[in-house]
Amino acid sequence: MAGPDAPTVIFIGQPNCGKSTLFNSIAGLKAETSNFPGTTVKHTHSRVSIEGRLLDIIDLPGTYSLCPSDPAEKTALSHLFSEKPDLIINVVDASVLGRSLEFTLELIELGWPMVVALNMMDLAEKKGVKIDPGKLASLLGVAVVPIIASRGRGVKELLNEAFKTLEDAGKPGARTWSRDVESRIEELARLLPPEFPLVANRRFTAVKMIEADRLFCDVMLGELEPGLKAEVDRVRLGIESGRSAPAYEIISAERHHQALKVAEEASLVERGRKVPWDRKVDDVIMHPFYGYVILAAVFTAFFFLIFKIGNPLETLLLKPFTSLDQDLGRHLGSNVLFHLADGLVQGIGGGIAIVLPYFVPLLIFMAFLEDLGYLARAGFLLDAFMHHIGLHGKSVGPFILGFGCNVPAIVSTRILESRRDRIITSLLIPFIPCSARTTVILALVAFYLGPWAALGFYVLNILLVAVLGRVITLFTKAPSPGLILEIPTLKRPSFRNILKKTYFQLRSFLAFAWPLLIAGSVFLSVLQAFHVDRTINAVLSPLVAGALGLPRELGVTLVFGFLRKELSLIMMLQALGTSYRDLLTVITKEQLLVFTVFVSFFIPCLSTFAMLWKEMGKKIAFLSAALSVSVAVLLAWIIRIVA
């Protein structure tokens, strides 16, 4: 993607450092931006023009160090090394300076041109810490620019500094560590054969060979350079012998102490300040009792949002499309042209009238919670509960996102360190009622059986997730490693930031999911035009009519349901040849419930399935589909027997 004329600039930083906020404010600066939603949600390329100068900027997922421990961090590192950036912009959270500088020092070891963006200066000051950027710059040996990304402050200065550093191409030098460690690293660096594939430079390569995950490094070296592997082992042992700790811990401690020292020298801490507001608020939010009351209130607000904003908006927006569809039917009759137009209108209308009214409020709400730092706190509160279903608090974030849409929820499981937790979480996410399924539940259950039935449906659904989690973990041997989750400082959400985040996500929906929805809708309309739907109904009849006891005409709606869950609802009325009001004259309440349950669970929708395949592999995707079908059939049966 990088053109030959534009330098590549990589944004890298630890989680919660405000890196994406900064990236968004730069990517949105000038008209000439093209955002590539690309393969990952959190890794974005943008080409920006700043005062006539072009830059290729890349935003990487947050990572704590250059020794990755979760898939998101692995993505960050593989891009860092494959892009070979001309400049690194290291975004640092000034409010936890000592900790953040550990990573900065590790990045400096790369010896690549670098600028430090000292973000959240306002938060640091509120905490009573005054940082001297000039002092910090001279201690680190790289340029330091103080910024407040959420308010767009200092961004221009940062870019100017970036251009200056690009022109100078000055390379920072790594700080040396304690003699006993440093001398051994130098020794290994000298021992590397001349043709050895170096990463960044000799010293960095040597350090990584000693501290990186032993399994990976040793296997590779053992194959390629058995002699060198013996040397690495010897040097590693030498480092460990003096301090009686693993080498990776010793090296990490070196950076840790240097970082704390630099932070201490560069900042002035005001003593005796009163407890800041966020600590007091946090005491309530994470309180063993009030915390849960607030959590419940947040969830209620969440559903209130879907019900009260999305629903009326949907009715309002659907009207023109319904009448357009009827007009088309009058003018075109029932030929292929009508079916094509019908599919097109359904697809476009579905995107605008059904998805957007739920999607946009949800995106805004999610961005608000994220900006505030609430997801981590919900994770803390629900950790004990999650242990009952074999997971821990870190899975709460992906689950909450799943209520909006399962697709980004599955991507977000990358923050989980263990593959086991990722698999279980990804298998459970398709059972979380996303906004599309909420539409079906609302439109059918709440409308015909009353709001309490709908609420009951929701509660049972969450119970189902818990039971399934319990059952799935019976099949996994290793226990979950447990929760290690940073609780970021509570921030006052910035309106601008929330809108920007919503806009960027909305744009990727419009560019990717919507065309798919339209194409799928047109395709299925054409199938209908050639009466392929009858064949589908006949094929599915044993399941639909036999096992579920539903009218066989509903068979084709299940195919639509695979594409998008709400389409089942729209197509249901069409398939049965009835109107919304007269539905209960055609099928019974019991059948309605069976249908809703079955549609909700019978299979992850196409986008979710595709994302499961991409993120977790074919096996997990099919396992998830099989699990969904079995659960759906089982539940439908139970309802038939009970009701």
């Binding site: 900790r99 401690a253 994470m286 803390f380 950790d383 447990g482 989750l485």
Partner: protein
Amino acid sequence: MRTKRMSLVEAPIDKHLRIVDIAGGESVRRRLLAIGFHKGDVVELDSAAILKGPILVRSSLSDMRIALGRGIARKITVEVLDGRP
């Protein structure tokens, strides 16, 4: 003078504690190191743990907090520092 050692789960709230040992698997230890918790660091427990729930640990030097599951907290040994609040 050596003070009494205990696991982080049993440690008192709002007292300065020094981490003397981190047991457990390599991946957990690496994760704690990367996030900024090392042997020898001074930490505080922020609030009483919710029944069987995680605990909140604050690093006194860099002023940041992490939530630790009980299983992990049990593997971290600390000692209470004397003469400090």
